[in-house]
């Protein structure tokens, strides 16, 4: 890793060996917990039991792709995800600006709070949204707009979950932008709008593209939002895979759609690779201080207000709902959170479930940090040959794949493939955090990579020339720059894991449920009390998330890269 003499063959071999060693662990984890299960599941669709034993049937899979219904589902998935991404970006950009470049009271709190929707269980958000959009909800009553069950509702729901991703990613990049080119343009007579278009945007574009990619993948694989808010009129690839796999056991159809997802992710990554120019890589030198809002910021502030409204309204509906006792306002549902004991119907009090959730999240967090850190270190090293560069790019894309693949396919894949005689991992309680870590991994890599890549390689060379070994160089050059961003993505990974429900519902151990699972159980019992308790538990989940993010916010560094 340490650049010595690149011409000596011994050093070259050592270098390659070092790189391989770095890649070994994350790649092994990805192969065992992602590639093998997904491949196992997909291959089931290709292998058909015939009279003469199993045979490979590619035609059957292709036939599924040609179906009218598949085309419809695909079309809906693409456009709803695109629309969801567009709305998220449109609302997220001004909010990123306002929350990261302007100074006003409550800014930090707001910044921590925007992440909350990201972790709320979809079931709960569905309930909250539908209370707002439903026939007797405020949107219909006050605005007279009937959104429930429409595609608009789905798009709004997708934006609700994903605006925070845009705010965080773009906000971090915006915050660390060197303000001087913008000032240079302003003194040349460029209006603020023009500065934004000609100077800020080109600088910000990599971050926006990164955020949009991640959001698009989240939207395209969204499951609960589409079903809950869109009713039964709409099917996405994800819901279709669910239906085909679990209800109809049509593995051929499911395999076809899973392949489609994989191809789509790869295509997207290629497209993004073109859109995202290699940044200038330098860690920015001058950082703007946030300033008071001016008149020119009015538009941004209004849009931020809209974004906050979109995020806050469902959460407010939750809070209000959780405070409704049998006779008006009351804390009775919150008291119920802790009192649930041995004989209650959830199996675990919400407080116990919260502890389980936190423990799972801690596991998922360190796993994603460990793996993501290794991947980021690996990818940030300068490539010596074209082959090496290609391998790196391949790895980069590979670790994005888990974002774009159905939780059902992965969950089923786990169970049918991880049963080798040597190590039956299906029993491991670590399966849930590992699955969650895979989801958080791309986010960690995307945060750390630009930071590590931004370190001038000459600094490492300087350290090496002063006698520092590879490990010491890493400790003294890379770590001081990267450890705060590391903390920041620890927070995000934690939040991702805290709210994750898809993989959890396939792999969880029912005797020790996580909080989202308990919330789901509470919701499936008729009666006012449990409904209120479910809402209260959701509010607690949201509050814990906000608290964790606030803590991270205090520790985080300005110079946070883009995903």
């Amino acid at each position: 890793m340490t650049p010595r003499s690149p011409t000596s063959p011994g050093a070259g071999l050592r270098r390659v060996a070092g790189l391989v060693a770095l890649a070994a662990l994350p790649t092994a984890v990805l192969v065992v917990f992602f590639v093998v299960p997904v491949a196992g599941m997909v291959s089931r669709g290709f292998v058909v039991d015939g009279p003469g034993g199993p045979s490979v049937d590619v035609g059957g899979v292709l036939e599924v792709l040609g179906r009218d219904r598949t085309r419809r589902v695909l079309w809906f998935t693409v456009w709803s995800a695109a629309a969801g991404t567009a709305v998220s970006v449109l609302l997220g950009l001004p909010a990123a600006y306002a929350l990261h470049r302007l100074e006003f009271p409550g800014r930090r709190l707001l910044r921590a709070a925007v992440i909350v929707p990201f972790v709320l269980p979809t079931v709960v958000v569905g309930v909250a949204f539908r209370e707002l959009l439903g026939e007797s909800g405020p949107v219909v009553r006050w605005l007279g707009v009937e959104l429930d069950g429409t595609a608009t509702a789905i798009v709004l729901g997708l934006a609700f979950f994903n605006v925070s991703v845009v705010v965080r990613v773009v906000g971090a990049a915006w915050e660390s932008l060197d303000p001087r080119p913008g000032e240079a343009a302003a003194v040349l007579g460029a209006s603020p709008v023009r500065v934004l278009a000609t100077v800020t945007w080109p600088q910000l574009r990599p971050a926006v593209v990164s955020a949009a990619t991640v959001v698009f993948l989240f939207c395209a694989t969204a499951f609960g939002v589409v079903l809950t808010l869109g009713g039964l009129r709409y099917s996405s690839v994800e819901t279709e895979i669910y239906l085909l796999t679990t209800d109809l056991l049509d593995l051929q159809g499911a395999a076809a759609l899973s392949l489609l997802q994989l191809v789509a992710v790869v295509a997207l990554m290629l497209l993004v690779g073109r859109l995202r120019p290699a940044g200038d890589g330098r860690v920015s030198r001058v950082v703007a201080r946030p300033r008071r809002p001016r008149r020119g910021d009015a538009a941004a502030l209004v849009l931020t207000g809209l974004a906050v409204l979109l995020l806050a309204a469902p959460v407010a509906a939750l809070v209000v709902g959780s405070l409704q006792g049998p006779d008006g306002w009351s804390l009775v549902h919150y008291r119920a959170l802790t009192s649930t004991g041995e004989d209650a119907w959830t199996g675990s009090s919400a407080a116990d479930a919260l502890v389980t959730s936190l423990r799972t999240s801690i596991d998922a967090t360190w796993m994603s940090l460990l793996l993501g850190g290794l991947v980021a270190v690996l990818l940030s090293r300068r490539s010596r040959t074209r082959g090496e560069r290609r391998v790196r790019r391949l790895l980069d894309g590979l670790f994005m794949l888990p974002l774009g693949v159905s939780a059902v396919t992965l969950g089923f894949g786990f169970l049918i493939t991880l049963d080798s005689d040597l190590l039956d991992l299906r029993d491991s309680p670590l399966l849930v955090p590992i699955a969650q870590a895979l989801v958080a991994l791309p986010l960690v890599v995307r945060t750390l990579l630009p930071v590590l890549a931004g370190i001038d390689d000459r600094q490492r060379q300087a350290a090496a020339s002063l006698g520092a070994g590879a490990w010491r160089t890493f400790l003294t050059v890379d770590v001081p720059v990267a450890w705060r961003p590391l903390l920041a993505c620890a927070g995000f990974a934690f939040a991702v894991s805290l709210g994750e429900f898809g993989a959890t519902s396939f792999l969880a151990r029912p005797d020790d449920p996580t909080l989202p699972v308990v919330i789901y159980r509470l919701l499936s019992r008729p009666g006012d009390e449990t409904f209120g308790t479910a809402l209260a538990a959701s509010v607690v989940l949201a509050a814990v998330t906000a608290a964790v993010m606030l803590l991270v916010e205090r520790l985080r560094v300005r110079n946070l890269g883009a995903w």
């Binding site: 001087r180 080119p181 302003a186 003194v187 000609t198």
Partner: protein, 334 residues
């Protein structure tokens, strides 16, 4: 005409600029000279509208407080150029023209003309990343001049460059500004740069303007010892030494202090002053001496600098006679 009246700027509570009054007449180049951290760049940013300031900054008598940066019609050139790395040289230079909705041939012609002016003809299609430091600054200058700003603000335009280049570019800069006739406010910590480029100058210290005036005037009559030293005077002599020097130069002065350039005392066998050489250092043009001045009664007056022709042989311990060049002395008030 730019007028700055009673301007103060605080930076997170600590004052950076205190009660500054300055004017820059049309077509004039004013240099604000001061050490780093004296608040000169902050003042410049305030004129550009990038920092909020107390007091009044006005153009032709019209207060600019409510005019945002991009409407002021000024141009600011940053210390490190701040070229837009994603745009070609031509697009960088043409930026302000496009902002003013000029298009097509007129932009191309003007860009060509400006690149020619800064000596970079034919560089239009290159990206800033491929240019040397000096070339980048020239592009930045061309970009600033493109829209014929009412006022050009230069923030240490040459200090990022190495000495030789700096000297050459300073001359070019002066010629370019003269030819373009641009009203300019330049801040720098380098008095050579200020002398080469400016018509007038103001000296800033700890947020205050301590002296301003025409170049020669400030140069001849620094307001105090600190200013004199900052302007490049080698020493400030006081007491008997000062009196002896002033007497030898035949200058009448009220004060008891005098700022002396390194070359104010010249070894000359017919000179009125006596001194003993302490050390000798040769340079390509002359020999530099450090001497102990002696009074008429051989009483020691203290240390001073002097120069000798290269042809003259002097060594440490030798006694020399010195004459005084009155043009290289500046009696200080008070």
């Amino acid at each position: 005409m730019l007028s700055i009246e009673g301007v103060s700027i605080a930076y997170e509570g600590t004052p950076a600029v205190r009660d500054v009054d300055l004017t820059v007449a049309d077509g004039e180049v004013l240099a604000v000279l001061g050490p780093s951290g004296c608040g000169k760049s902050t003042l410049l940013r305030a004129v550009a509208g990038l920092e909020p300031a107390l007091g009044r900054i006005a153009w032709d008598g019209r207060d600019l407080a409510r005019t945002p940066t991009h409407r002021r019609g000024f141009a600011l050139m940053f210390q490190d150029g701040q070229l837009f790395d994603h745009l070609t040289v031509a697009r960088n230079v043409g930026y302000a023209l496009r902002v003013r909705r000029l298009r097509g041939r007129r932009v191309a012609e003007r860009v060509e003309e400006l690149l020619d002016l800064v000596g970079l003809a034919g560089y239009g299609e290159r990206l800033p990343g491929t240019l040397s430091g000096g070339e980048r600054q020239r592009v930045a200058l061309a970009r600033s001049l493109a829209a014929q700003p009412r006022l050009l603000l230069l923030d240490e335009p040459l200090s990022a460059l190495d000495a030789g280049l700096r000297e050459r570019l300073a001359g070019d800069l002066r010629d370019i500004l003269r030819r373009a006739g641009t009203t300019t406010l330049l801040v720098t910590h380098d008095h050579e740069e200020a002398f080469t480029v400016a018509d007038r100058m103001a000296v800033m210290r700890e947020g205050r303007v301590v002296q301003q005036g025409a170049l020669a005037e400030v140069w001849r009559e620094p307001v105090d010892a600190w200013t004199a030293l900052f302007l490049g005077y080698a020493r400030v002599l006081t007491g008997p030494a000062a009196s002896a020097l002033l007497a030898a130069a035949d200058v009448t002065a009220t004060g008891e202090r005098v700022a002396v350039r390194r070359s104010a005392l010249v070894a000359d066998d017919g000179g009125p002053l006596r001194a003993r050489v302490r050390s000798v250092r040769a340079t390509p043009v002359q020999t530099r001496l450090v001497v102990d001045l002696e009074g008429p009664d051989s009483a020691p007056l203290g240390e001073a600098d002097a120069v000798a022709d290269l042809g003259r042989r002097v060594g440490p311990g030798d006694e020399v006679r010195l004459r005084v060049d009155p043009g290289r002395l500046a009696p200080l008030p008070g």
